[in-house]
Amino acid sequence: MNIIRFLSDVLLYTSPILFCTVGGLFAYRANIVNIGLEGMMYFGGLASVLAIFFTQSLFLGIIVGMVISAAIGVLFSYFSVNKNANFIITGLGINLLATAAGKYILVEMGLTEINLINIDRVVDLGVDLPLIGRLPFLGGILSGHTPFTYLSLLAVFAAWAVLYRTPVGVYVRVCGDNEDAGVSLGIPTAKIKYFAVILGAVFCGFAGYNVTVEQLASFTPSFTDGIGFIAIAAIYCGDGKPLKSSLYAFLFGAAKSLAINLAVTYGSIAILLKMIPYLAIVVVLFAVEGVKHSRTNIRGISHV
């Protein structure tokens, strides 16, 4: 296994998880568990690929992806905030709707995947960093990634800054900690929740763009591969704190990179290695939550 390749892939596979983690933790901190991250990512990726496929414009792809994923965010928050829906089921419905829509559109177009390889600019999106790129070891790891991969790293810090350094961030946290107190202080909690969910949805859309356009240069019906749920696991492990959750996202990205890089060397059991990330997450979740649980001295269980 090539160590530079492995570390570079860690960054590659972590970035969509990071986007979804950042997207999900806003809602999480506003006391909404967004199971629909996966579906929002799916819709974002699908919309971006379709837009690029028909217009050949990357810029339009990004915009359409943002708009569609934001629209799904609006739908989700309308259901969960205004209509008092069971948001676990809403999220699940969005996930199922996303895959169903993707497959339906593929069948209608008569394709098994929407390929963007023929569009020149999509194939070579890697950015060579000016100074870091020339460093011997770090250059190979950090340079040559696509724009949204770098953006995902910035997103973490942006999320941290919004949550802890702006009034909106304080309101979001108030919504989660004690919504009634927020209402009594005149904080528009409904609007804040909308903001948290929609912002999160747009980030998930970025994750979709990142995977479909930048990594695969195509849309395949199962491209999300559980990334949204992996992000939820990262959020749970990291208590919804941006930096801590992101560390877990990196851990899970590393597991995925390990699985894929090992698969190159081990031919026949390569399929089995794909299990590593999912099992690793369950183990990490068990370790983290188990420790948290053992530190509480309340009898019995706390419910969700």
Binding site: I35, F79, K83, N84, A85, N86, F87, I88, I89, T90, L92, G93, I94, L96, L97, A98, T99, A100, A101, K103, Y104, V107, E108, D225, G226, F229, I230, I232, A233, Y236, S268, I269, I271, L272, K274, M275, Y278, L279, I281, V282, L285, F286, E289, G290, K292, H293, R299, G300, I301, S302, H303, V304
Partner: protein, 366 residues
């Protein structure tokens, strides 16, 4: 409570409206999608329902298809009742099916009287074992069962894909598939229809579950936990252990569904064993549709089986892609998450109350 209590009638009406209106709405949206595909939604829907409900052979096929759905619907409904989510039904079903396949192909000479129950029980046990992972983590370590059971679905699907394409692959098959079950492990069709014993097994399990949940102490405790887990804990229930029990029951139902579906329909494990959306996820829709009422689960399972059978005719007689059903299903789940009509103090509830009231007054005058 009196038998003709108006309060109770209103509640029943509201439940019905809440269950039926998302279905209608989803079909309307589906109709728009069909129109966009330049097909006639009315004739498409007519084909969808007529051949799977109003035709004897079609109806039997629908009941056959409803059997695993009834079980997966129950598997999810029991966990809903206690207020948490077993999202691993799909994986538990696959494990149950695969285990039944291994047992069935290992003892081809065993008498069917022994082999059939052995396969079904193995499926159940393996479903339980696989459900035990999220269950134990949840009950004793407070790890979120939803995330764990969901991620394990991915892991087990990969594992079974490996087993099917490697050690257990049937070399003479043109596509990736395991060996076929021997004749002794197959549940045969009854009287020239698609129906098998499996349907009756599923119904028997349903009756057992009905009594377990409505007439036993466990059922009462589960409902109490669903309403208020902290209170249940405070009055002395061991909530952790109860959650473990429910998850294991759920896993057993899912495993049985998988084993039964293998033995009555598929006969061999393939990579598309559970279908496009997956029987476990179909169970989610059924549990949501029929959750308020035990009979609701059966009705919902038959309704959904109708769609599954009907969609095979759609692709034969029209140009509408069969994927339309997955789309409608997702829409139904999405719309079911919001209660169209809320509690007693909302506008919709009062409107239904007054509607029923005026109906009763007319009856009196008449």
């Amino acid at each position: 409570m009196k038998k003709n209590d108006p309060q109770r009638n209103t509640k029943a009406a509201v439940t019905l409206v809440n269950a039926v209106s998302p279905v209608i709405l989803a079909f309307l949206i589906g109709a728009v999608v069909i129109l966009i595909a330049r097909e006639n939604p009315l004739s498409t829907y007519w084909i969808l329902f007529s051949k799977s409900l109003f035709d004897f052979q079609g109806l039997m096929k629908t009941l056959h298809y409803a059997s695993p759905l009834m079980l997966t619907g129950l598997a999810i409904a029991v966990t809903f009742k206690a207020g948490f989510f077993n999202m691993g039904v799909e994986g538990q079903l696959l494990v149950g099916a695969f285990a039944a396949m291994i047992v069935g192909t290992s003892f081809p000479a065993m008498s069917p009287v022994l082999l059939v129950p052995l396969c079904l029980v193995t499926g159940m046990v393996c479903g339980i074992l696989f459900a035990a992972v999220p269950a134990v983590l949840r009950a004793f370590f407070n790890v979120n069962e939803m995330v764990v059971s969901l991620l394990l679905n991915y892991a087990i699907a990969i594992f079974l894909e490996y087993l099917t394409s490697g050690p257990f692959r049937n070399p003479s098959s043109g596509y990736v598939s395991t060996n076929m079950l021997p004749d002794n492990a197959i549940l045969h069709h009854l009287g020239g229809t698609k129906l098998t014993i499996f349907t009756f097994v599923a119904l028997a399990v349903f009756i057992v579950m009905y009594f377990l949940f409505n007439r036993s102490r466990l059922g009462f405790e589960i409902e109490a936990i669903g309403y208020n887990p902290s209170f249940s804990e405070a009055v002395g229930m061991n909530v952790g252990r109860k959650i473990l029990t429910i998850m294991l029951i759920s896993g057993a139902l899912a495993g049985l569904a998988g084993a039964g579906w293998l033995m009555s329909e598929k006969y061999a494990y393939t990579l598309s064993f559970s279908g496009a959306v997956g029987l476990g996820w179909d169970g989610m829709l059924i549990a949501l549709l029929g959750a308020h009422n035990p009979a609701g689960i059966i009705v919902a399972a038959i309704f959904y089986a109708t769609l599954k059978v009907g969609v095979q005719n759609i692709s034969v007689f029209t140009h509408v892609p069969s994927e339309i059903i997955a789309l409608i299903q997702a829409m139904i789940i999405l719309l079911l998450s919001l209660k169209m009509i809320g509690g007693p103090n909302t506008r919709g509830y009062k409107r239904i109350e007054s509607l029923l009231d005026s109906g009763r007054r007319k009856e009196k005058i008449g």
